[in-house]
Symmetry: C2
Subunit: 146 residues, 2 copies
C-alpha cells in the first residue's frame, strides 16, 4: 500500500478551511469547478473533470478539524478503495493542513502524476483561502500535459 | 521505507533536461540559486539554502536518460541515506521526468512538506526548460511558510 502525503500551511481560520473542504462552493473553488453533493457523513460528492466524474463518499467529519472521504465507484480505477483525508494542525501563525490520499495498491506512474497534481491543488486551496482565488480544474493548466 | 515520487511532462530535448540536472548552471535555475560542484560520478554537489548546505554525491549518470544522487552529510537529518533519481521517459509529445526521493525512514510531517516542495521544484524545472525562467530558491515564495 502507498500513500500520497502533503502538508501545506494556510493563513485562514479553521472554519474557512473546513468550509472549503465540506461545501460544493468551497470545493469548486480549488479542486474542480463542477462539484456537487457535498454534505453530511454518507453524502456522495461528484467531482466532474470534463466527461469524467470522480466520486467520494464522506466518511468522517470532525468540525473544523478533520475531513475523510472514501472513494466510491470505479473511476479512476487506481483510486478504487482509496481514502482522502485532511487533518488540521493549528499553530501560532497558520493552520497546517495534512492531506493524505491513502490505500493505493502501489506507487505507479499514475500515482506519481496524481502526487504532483495534489500538490498543485493543495496550493490552489491555499490561494483560494488566502487571496480569494484558487486554480480549480480546468484552470490548473500549468501542468495540463504531465 | 518511504519514497516521494513525482512525474512531470516537459517539452524540451533530453539533452537540455540532462544539462539542467547535471550542471551548476542548470541546477541553479530551478532548485536553488546557489549550486556548486556538479560534475561526473562521485562529484559532491552543494545546494545552499540561506545558511543551510544540502549535499549530494553523484551516484549514477546515464547520458540524457538518468541521474542518481546519494545524500551526503547530515543535513537535513531526515535526508540521511536518501537517494534522489530522475529518469527520462520519451513520448511523442514530451519527455516525462520520473523523480524519486527514496529511502525515507517514514512518512513524517517533514516528508509531507518536502513532497509538496518537490512538486513545486519539478514545476520550476519544467518552466525553466519551457520558458527559460524557473523559480529556484529563494524565489519559491509561493509556499514559503508551509
Amino acid at each position: 500500500m502507498a500513500t500520497i502525503y502533503h502538508k501545506v500551511g494556510i493563513k485562514a481560520s479553521a472554519e474557512d478551511i473546513y468550509q472549503a473542504l465540506t461545501s460544493d462552493k468551497g470545493l469548486s473553488n480549488w479542486w474542480t469547478h463542477e462539484t456537487s453533493g457535498a454534505g453530511a457523513v454518507r453524502s456522495i460528492i461528484d467531482f466532474k473533470f470534463n466527461d469524467t466524474i470522480v466520486q467520494f463518499r464522506v466518511k468522517e467529519l470532525i468540525q473544523n478539524k478533520k475531513v475523510v472521504w472514501k472513494h466510491f465507484g470505479e473511476t479512476p480505477p487506481e483510486w478504487m478503495n482509496t481514502e482522502i483525508s485532511f487533518g488540521f494542525e493549528v499553530t501560532d501563525e497558520q493552520i497546517l493542513v495534512h492531506m493524505k490520499h491513502a490505500n493505493w495498491q502501489e506507487q505507479t506512474s499514475f500515482f506519481a502524476h496524481c502526487n504532483l497534481k495534489w500538490a498543485v491543488f493543495m496550493l490552489s486551496l491555499k490561494d483560494y483561502l488566502e487571496t480569494g482565488k484558487g486554480r480549480p480544474f480546468p484552470n490548473d493548466v500549468q501542468i495540463d500535459h504531465c
